[in-house]
Symmetry: C2
Subunit: 201 residues, 2 copies
């Protein structure tokens, strides 16, 4: 019932993650009301994204600028003996925000709820093995995969794979588990409570 | 922690309705993974939207094409004795979808949860009064404002205003109220149950 131009943009927005046709329609009407120059900003931000943003050849993080490496991989002040394996860029961004980790990263790709073989093949495990060969002085690999049901499976799988690939004496670790800040024991699941006991300090 | 181009687009998406910074980031990474030609489609759909889509001078619906009136207002087969007042275009679209209403429309503007005077002034009540003067043969005005708390207040306000503005013998009606299809009496609120009783048939 919408005019063709409106319907076309609704269909495109409806493919965005978490967006259905109703929300897509709201987006379009939001854009319709927006002043022309604001819409221009969105248009040029999208084209810039596609033109300027590249994928780092070492960690698969997005970056812009010269060369093949992102700011983190290029930074000589980062600790090259540490490698942190994350699922996706926003996980990397969250870890960077806490400013406690000064090592390097590797973006494995997102784990999905259906752990089919085809989904596993999409993860960059081959690239990770190669990366380990290249970055020779790695002392520790931190597996920072999200502790969801699928994530746990992937993490276990990675742990085996990495322990085999790394030379003797190097560590493969996982992020600590326990109650989140503000979490309540009453509402925590059994897994979390038992992790909190095991990891008590 | 994201690169400037990515952060800029995240900020722009975060202004979209229902979207927060996390969802905005997901949108950006979705676009990053999208093939170039798909991103092009989105860009050109947004520019088309801003270039081609106009607002109807009579009902304030969006439309594209020649002239100042939308397809509905231009259509000589529509019943010009009926006028349906809706809040927004997607309500109009939902009513058009049922193919039961053949009259004209008027888009009043969205009611907002805080019924401040400034919000009321944003509604097109003045334009509605003028429209009624122009469309002389109106027999019935159907107030199809959403039955939310704010909507009800606006609807009552409109009802008064329109009854004053319309000549004697013309009707101002509201959409029927009652249980929605698939609704359960057990879970319906008192207002809905009592509307269902009053509107029994």
């Amino acid at each position: 019932m919408f005019s063709p131009t409106i319907q076309k943009l609704i269909d495109l927005f409806a493919k965005f993650p978490t967006v259905g046709p109703r929300t897509a329609a709201r987006f379009v009407f939001y854009l319709l009301k927006l002043p022309g120059e604001e819409a221009e900003k969105i248009i040029s931000a999208i084209s810039n994204l596609k033109e300027k943003v590249k994928t780092c050849h070492s960690c698969f993080n997005s970056f812009e600028g010269e060369g093949k490496l992102c700011v983190i991989c290029k930074d000589s002040n980062r600790d090259k003996s540490l490698l942190c394996v994350v699922e996706k860029e926003s996980d990397l961004a969250s870890i960077e925000k806490i400013k406690k980790y000064n090592g390097l990263y590797f973006i494995l790709g997102e784990t999905v709820s259906t752990l089919k073989k085809s989904d596993l093949l999409k993860l960059r495990t081959k690239e990770l093995e190669e990366r380990i060969k290249e970055q020779k002085n790695i002392q520790e690999i931190i597996i920072a995969i999200n502790p969801t049901a699928e994530g746990e499976t992937i993490a276990l799988y990675l742990e085996k794979l990495l322990k085999k690939a790394l030379p003797e004496g190097k560590r493969v670790t996982r992020l600590g588990r326990g109650l989140p800040l503000g979490g309540e024991i009453e509402y925590a699941d059994e897994e979390t409570i038992s992790s909190a006991f095991e990891g008590r300090r």
